[in-house]
């Protein structure tokens, strides 16, 4: 038989043409880059070959990954790593490639890595380690995979945990701070005797702070908080009050152990979307209430005591004066009736008796006045100091005449004061000026005033910085005194001269100081031995707001 016909040949040619055209097509496709790869049968084993373009795509993927990617040999040599990884380590890529992965791991985690690397040589493994480079420690999560059979390497994907770790640390820090805050809060509640609560209006949940439980006489979290339970602590007499919507309320509770306490509750509503709550604090104000009560009672007591003292002082002084009067009456009588029979000596003795009783009388009066200054009802009113001075000088009319004294008056201000007390003040100062005159010299008394500049007010420790002051000076040309005694003389019963030299009780100047003090002012003296003295009285023009002014 013939093996090939022309038909067969034609058919074969067609077949060849087809195959040629296909091959040509393939070559064209390769040339134009329309194909990326091909699979081919090689010695019965199929293999895939990748052309340039495709390889590029993979490279781009690995490089642009948001994770680290490495290719490691079985010995751990890094034959490839992507830029993410080298950037993570802070090292140039060229340095990383070619180094051993073990050198880039911290001592603490190296052993773990080695264990997992060994596992990965057979398959795959995942673990957490810490990388170390440039003194940086980088916590990472790694995934190791053997790339067998295609490659005799291990691929490693690296996920940076720094952020995660950082966040974890932040959470721990926050938790720690929260703990501390809670401790402080609990302590603050204890110190302030406050207990607080939170009432979620949506869920109906009620929560009490530990201290609220304690304030109720219970152990923290001893019972489940509820409004009904709270009501059982309220004092029966005060239960009504709580029906009003309390925003701030004071009422009594009876604690678990029977103590009656005063609670002041303050509440606030929180109305955020999704969160409707009432938060409140209960403050144990028992000490305050008790103190206020105690204070009030003590004040009433004090008023009573003062009243009694006042009465006592009046009566006592009167009763004390009586016998003195008798002494004076009868010594007078003695002298009068037995005038002819009395020797000069006897008369002298009788005079001494008289003088003593008179002095005693004065003393009693002065002491009475002095005590009155302390707790008299202090009605301040508009007081013309010029008028007070004139009245005082009138009182001393006779003495001024007798001593041939001259008085120079300056213009004195009008101030808010207690007229009677100012009267006494002026009386004492003028009296002293006249009394302590130099023998043989006519007393000259100069009274003037000036406004105190603010620096002087500020520098003076006894003056009220909020008020304006006038300084009235009483200057005399009398016997004066040594400046070193200038403060002493204002002490009660202090005298610089003996009774024989100059009469007086020693109370006068103490009284002056007390009066000045009553008016929020002060008094001081300047003098020289045998060269006159000046007394400076500082009085405010107006009294401070808390004083009663008529």
């Amino acid at each position: 038989m013939e093996t090939t016909t022309s038909e067969d040949l034609l058919s074969e040619i067609e077949g060849l043409k087809l195959r040629l055209s296909e091959a040509q097509e393939a070559i064209d496709a390769i040339k134009t880059g329309s194909v990326d790869a091909f699979a081919i049968r090689n010695d019965g084993k199929p293999e895939v070959f990748t052309l340039q373009s495709l390889d590029y795509a993979y490279r781009v993927l690995i490089e642009k990954f948001g994770e680290g990617a490495l290719n490691l040999t079985r010995d751990g040599l890094i034959i490839y790593c992507n830029s993410y990884f080298s950037t993570l380590l802070g090292m140039p890529n060229e340095k990383v490639t070619g180094s051993y992965i073990f050198d880039l791991i911290t001592d603490e985690t190296r052993e773990r890595f080695q264990e997992h690397f060994v596992l990965a040589l057979q398959g795959s493994s995942k673990t957490e380690i810490t990388l170390s480079a440039n003194n940086k420690k980088i916590p990472v999560y790694i995934s190791l995979t053997s790339l067998q059979p295609q490659l005799a390497t291990v691929g490693m994907i690296v996920t940076d945990l720094s952020e995660k770790k950082h966040n974890e640390q932040r959470i721990i820090d926050y938790q720690h701070r929260l703990q501390i805050q809670n401790k402080i809060f609990n302590l603050a509640e204890e110190i302030a005797s406050t207990g607080s609560y939170e009432w979620n209006l949506q869920t109906g949940e009620l929560a009490y702070s530990d201290n609220l439980f304690r304030m109720l006489g219970c152990l923290p979290q001893e019972f489940v908080p509820s409004t009904e339970k709270y009501l059982t602590f309220i004092h029966p007499d005060d239960k009504e009050q709580l029906n009003k919507t309390p925003l701030q309320l004071t009422y009594r509770i009876i604690s678990k152990n029977g103590e009656v306490k005063y609670f002041r509750t303050t509440e606030k509503e929180i109305d955020d979307p999704g969160r409707r709550m009432i938060i409140g604090t209960n403050q144990d104000v028992t000490p305050d209430i008790i103190n206020t009560e105690t204070l009030r009672k003590k004040n009433i007591e004090l008023e009573h005591v003062n009243k009694s003292l006042d009465q006592f002082a009046s009566i006592a002084s009167h009763d004390l004066q009586e016998p003195l009067r008798k002494i004076r009456v009868f010594t007078s009588l003695l002298k009068h009736r037995f005038d002819a029979d009395l020797s000069v000596d006897t008369r002298g003795l009788i005079d001494k008796i008289n003088a003593s009783s008179e002095r005693m009388s004065l003393l009693i009066n002065d002491v009475l006045n002095f005590s009155r200054i302390c707790h008299a009802e202090n009605m301040f009113m508009r007081t013309d100091l010029n008028q007070i001075l004139d009245n005082t000088l009138t009182d001393f009319d006779l003495l001024i005449l007798e001593k041939g004294a001259s008085v120079r008056k300056g213009n004195l201000p009008v101030i808010e004061a207690i007229p009677l007390q100012i009267n006494q003040l002026f009386y004492n100062l003028v009296g002293n000026a006249l009394k302590f005159s130099k023998a043989g010299t006519a007393p000259v008394l100069t009274i003037s005033s000036r406004m105190l500049p603010s620096e002087e007010i500020e520098n003076a420790s006894n003056l009220n910085g909020q008020l304006s002051y006038s300084e009235i000076s009483f200057e005399d040309n009398g016997i004066g005194f040594e400046q070193q005694f200038s403060e002493q003389i204002f002490s009660i019963f202090e005298r610089l001269n003996s009774q024989q030299q100059y009469s007086g009780t020693g109370i006068g100047l103490a009284l002056c100081q007390k009066i000045a003090g009553q008016h929020q002012g002060g008094i001081r003296a300047e003098a020289q031995e045998n060269n006159g003295s000046t007394f400076y009285v500082r009085l405010p023009l107006t009294q401070s707001a808390d004083r009663v002014v008529n």
């Binding site: 009167h318 004066q321 009586e322 009067r325 008798k326 004076r328 009456v329 009868f330 007078s332 009588l333 009068h336």
Partner: protein
């Protein structure tokens, strides 16, 4: 001076009473003086219709049982006594007392003098003057 003048004094202090009586007698030995040592006794005597109506009444302020102020009030209420000039004779030197008692009807306020001889002069002035009760 009126003949057979009667003056009444109420004072709890014996010495003061005696000095007063002495001085009054010195002024006019025929003066009739009625004394009482406390307010209660004073009112008993004054209200007694049998005792002579005094021409002048002197009252101490501080007396036990009923004090001078109260006596003054009672005297002013008594129709029989209300026209009699009442003098307050006291140790008090309080101006306020003087004003107050003046308002209550006392015609004069006399502070007991230290010098007993002054009582004489006071009385002579007081008893001689005409006291208008209106």
């Amino acid at each position: 001076m009126k003949e057979n003048m009667t003056i009444f004094i109420a004072d709890d202090d014996e010495d003061d009473r005696n000095l007063f009586v002495e001085s009054a007698k010195e002024l006019n030995k025929d003066i009739n003086i009625i004394t009482a040592s406390d307010g209660q006794e004073a009112m008993r005597i004054l209200k007694d219709e049998h005792s002579p109506l005094p021409d002048y009444i002197f009252l101490d302020l501080r007396m036990p049982r009923i004090n001078g102020r109260q006596c003054l009030a009672e005297i002013k209420k008594e129709e029989r006594l209300s026209h009699i000039p009442v003098f307050i004779y006291t140790t008090s030197r309080d101006v306020n007392d003087s004003i107050d008692l003046g308002k209550r009807g006392a015609v004069h306020f006399i502070s007991k003098p230290d010098n007993p001889t002054e009582i004489y002069y006071i009385l002579s002035t007081v008893l001689d003057a005409k006291w208008d009760q209106s």
